[in-house]
Symmetry: C2
Subunit: 350 residues, 2 copies
């Protein structure tokens, strides 16, 4: 009884998480009971695409959403655009960011746009209240409305505009699938994931750009190649290193205060570049290990994706157990009382 | 590798959703692919506890959270407290509410507390920003801080305070398990669910009161008895009818603008009393049918719980297909574009 009036392109019956029966990886406890539970799949691969660790279905296409921003940012850097406009670590990290809309994020984007002879009016991501609560309160209390600058993808979009300026493309419509900016990014995605994405499932991301269905195994491969680009062409090697360095130098810019990506990278330093995506996706590049990680929580929950990424970082030796525990706070109620917790599923073993 | 530092009471290994393999009931599409999916269990029973419709595991304990507020409110009404303090439909509906903290909610709670010689200082639920975005913005823009009045459970808590005043109990500590208020509510729960809850799993709810693990089948039975209390003692019959009438008369008070419970009850009128609970729980009482409904989404997602409740209300003839579709809006991105949808899982049949 499909009743949602979804005017979508028709397709053959897509595979669903149900078919795969992905394992429960995260449990949410309250008192002395498991209250909720989350299933997920993940893949860890090396630069040859060999799967060194996995769970669940890793060949089914998954929308990476923002988790592949570091891959998408290769266009900005390897084209020479970043250098031409003298972008620093802050801007390159913002190009990879789903930021919290805090003042430093917003001001850096605004200055960046001016430097490339653009403004907030050129951004096509749409306005969004800052996801950081303090920043949101500060904005509203000051009587201001959010703009596209506050949109968590405004750094990535500023990267697209910079690329367009450098390549001499029109900036208008840069979010569209057919626009040379998105076509370039798609080409890089195909190259890094080792996937022919021409017939891949496709949707529209929250910020308006295309999102492409990529199997987790291939997503992990792309991250492995970002981690260890020694098999890649020289320009891409340099670009990958530049992106990794920027994320490691400016973890705040990649997300913000209180955010998992930021806090995790503050702990790992250069050993891991970690990026969240909507609907329960997480990716990581682990340069010293030459590995890439990609995970997707079936139901899309961010809390479970964070918990699972923390588990994997411990398993792969990038974080200690206590460091991981510090990243996943206990569940507090409105009066600040500890009432529950997120934990690895009690019989999961990987 | 359980790493979350959860200082919880020990227990025997609890049953987990994984063991039961609840079916996928809701799919989230984006473009031409299913992006995420949610599993759930549900039970629909009559007043004898006979299961007329179900899916998944309905005997495992589930924290009902706020979904049983209409049952908890029986204490307020059948004790005579509501009548003694001349509470109207608005207050009784608020006693059943997870409200959005909108001005009418907050002002009604404030006046109610004054009438029982209490104030915001007597509320023990803790402060909370209004969940309704407009109300939240209005509050912050006005330079004000949220108080316990804005807490979505403040109506329920005002009901507890009213009961305490009427029964001559001390009000302090009314949220505690051992307090006579909670013990009375627990007794009513046992009676309505047909469960011995003495050894049931127990946790602390977001607002500080106990939350008890109840099987979905028994939760549905309690809602069926609310729907058709003809087998119940006279005082309870009258109280159940009073509560149902209040929810039907004041659906805005039960939740608020833009909320599923409110919009659904505006469509069903007296034919359904519908209540959401955190972590993907929903309950409904269907008076004309003498049925109760209880559902729990494995992963706790509210969007899936709403979608499933809408599906069930259609299946049970309480809503039309198009009414249900009006309750589950399409997924829009930041620029307001239609990018996806929530739908019944394509092979679910119940």
């Amino acid at each position: 009884m499909a009743f949602a009036n979804d005017k979508l392109e028709d397709s053959t019956r897509p595979a669903r998480p149900q078919d795969a029966g992905n394992p429960v990886v995260v449990e949410v406890t309250r008192g002395n009971m498991v209250e909720s539970a989350h299933r997920a799949a993940f893949a860890v691969t090396d630069t040859a695409g060999k799967v060194v660790l996995h769970a669940g279905e890793i060949e089914r296409p998954v929308y990476a959403r923002s988790a592949i921003k570091p891959i998408q940012a290769l266009a900005l850097v390897e084209s020479g655009a970043a250098e031409a406009f003298e972008l620093g670590d802050a801007e390159i990290a913002l190009a990879c960011a789903s930021h919290g809309g805090e003042p430093r994020h917003v001001e850096t984007v605004e200055r960046w746009l001016a430097r490339i002879d653009c403004s907030v009016d050129d951004l096509e991501c749409g306005p969004q209240l800052p996801s950081n609560e303090s920043a949101m309160i500060e904005l509203i209390a000051g009587g201001r409305e959010p703009s596209a600058l506050h949109n968590n993808c405004s750094g990535k979009h500023s990267g697209f505009l910079t690329f367009a300026r450098h390549m001499g493309h029109p900036t208008a419509g840069y979010i569209k699938f057919e626009h040379p900016v998105q076509q370039s990014v798609l080409g890089i995605l195909e190259s890094m994931t080792g996937c022919d994405l021409g017939n891949a499932p496709r949707g529209i991301d929250g910020c308006g750009i295309p999102t492409i269905g990529i199997p987790l195994g291939n997503m992990a491969l792309a991250m492995a190649r970002l981690a260890d680009p020694s098999d890649q062409p020289d320009r891409r090697q340099a670009a990958a290193q530049r992106i990794r360095r920027a994320m490691a130098a400016e973890p705040f810019m990649v997300a913000g205060n209180g955010r998992f990506c930021t806090q995790a990278m503050e702990l790992t330093g250069e050993k891991a570049q970690i990026k969240t995506g909507a609907e329960g996706v997480y990716c990581a590049a682990l340069p010293e290990l030459g590995l890439g990680v990609a995970l997707k929580v079936d139901d899309g929950a961010g809390r479970a994706a964070e918990s699972l990424m923390a588990q994997l970082l411990v398993r792969l030796g990038v974080l200690s157990q206590s460091q991981a525990e510090s990243l996943i706070p206990p569940i507090l109620n409105r009066a600040g009382r500890h009432v529950g917790a997120l934990r690895a599923a009690s019989d999961s073993a990987f």
